[in-house]
Amino acid sequence: MKAKIHVTLKQGILDPQGKAIEHALDSLGFTNAANVRVGKYMEVDVQETDKAKADAQVKQMCEKLLANTIIEEYRYELV
């Protein structure tokens, strides 16, 4: 089973990279582009056939290592 994991800064926390990209988009003429947020995308193969068990494991991976929940939020899907 593959976990597709997205980690981004929480809403309300300044994302300097997102801001820089937003300005670049603006200068390219995409003046309607707003609230750019930069994050990380990770794929993890989980050797597990039981979806509930895999889900619990991926949640733990996110909480313990993949995201710093003081500043980041995460979401994932299992396929």
């Binding site: 800064l9 926390i13 300044l14 300097p16 990279q17 990380k40 290592l65 710093n68 003081i70």
Partner: protein
């Protein structure tokens, strides 16, 4: 005093810390590889600057799981003095030994320059050789020094005088312009609520002797010796 300097893969200020303690301050130093599970009976622990594990994922995020960190946590819990400098500070945050987290510098630049910090609490084991409000000139060198914590934690830290160093002008004014990285409340260094763990972004080991033209950083280490009642 016997000082332990932890060496992670990617640490690059470990020998500077060793040099200051051993050759400038005349103490004995143990270099402790991150695979060790014991601190070899040292009296204080330094987590040096650098780029442990290449800063992969987040700064300090992987180093906190190094085998030695179990011993560092136990040492800190027993009241042992721990100093994390730059990447060492980032590791202490990720390990939960200090509150908060580091964000990318507001400017997105890697900043390497002298900054000024004001000693906000001179009654700690890491600042007692300083005067209250003293301004120190110490260099920073980091891309992720934009300290963040939630408002509740910040208020508790302020009430408990845990904000030890704040970025300021050379005259000691804490202003937004004097803040190099966007750090919350101009925070440059904090201690834990028990007062035995310090994290700071500036590098005191880079300015601790006359030959370098600045020895303000020496005060941090002298404070520790004073707190440990070591005569230099």
């Amino acid at each position: 005093m016997n000082v332990g300097v932890i060496v992670f893969p990617g640490s690059n200020c470990d020998h500077d810390c060793q040099h200051v303690f051993q050759h400038v301050l005349g103490q004995s130093v143990q270099m402790i590889w991150h695979k060790e599970t014991s601190l070899k009976g040292v009296d204080a622990v330094i987590l040096p600057g650098g780029f442990s594990y290449g800063d992969y994922l987040r700064t300090g995020a992987i180093a906190r799981f190094s085998p030695v960190m179990g011993a560092v946590k136990a040492f800190a819990k027993d009241g042992g003095a721990v100093i994390g400098i730059c990447n060492g500070f980032q590791i202490l945050l990720e390990a939960g030994l200090l509150p908060g987290a580091m964000l990318r510098n507001k400017s997105l630049h890697f900043i390497c320059k002298d900054v000024h910090v004001r000693v906000e609490n001179a009654a700690t084991a890491f600042t007692e050789a300083c005067e209250p409000g003293q301004v120190l000139k110490i260099p920073v060198a980091h891309a992720d020094g934009n300290y963040y914590t939630d408002p509740v934690t910040l208020a508790a830290m302020q009430a408990n005088a845990q904000v030890v160093l704040r970025y300021c002008t050379p005259e000691g004014k804490v202003t937004p312009e004097a803040n190099p990285n966007g750090s919350l409340d101009n925070i440059a260094g904090i201690i834990n609520s028990e007062g035995n763990v310090l994290g700071m972004m500036p590098h005191p080991e880079r300015c601790a002797e006359d030959i370098l033209g600045n020895k303000d950083g020496k005060l941090i280490f002298q404070s520790l010796l004073k707190a440990m009642k070591v005569k230099v």
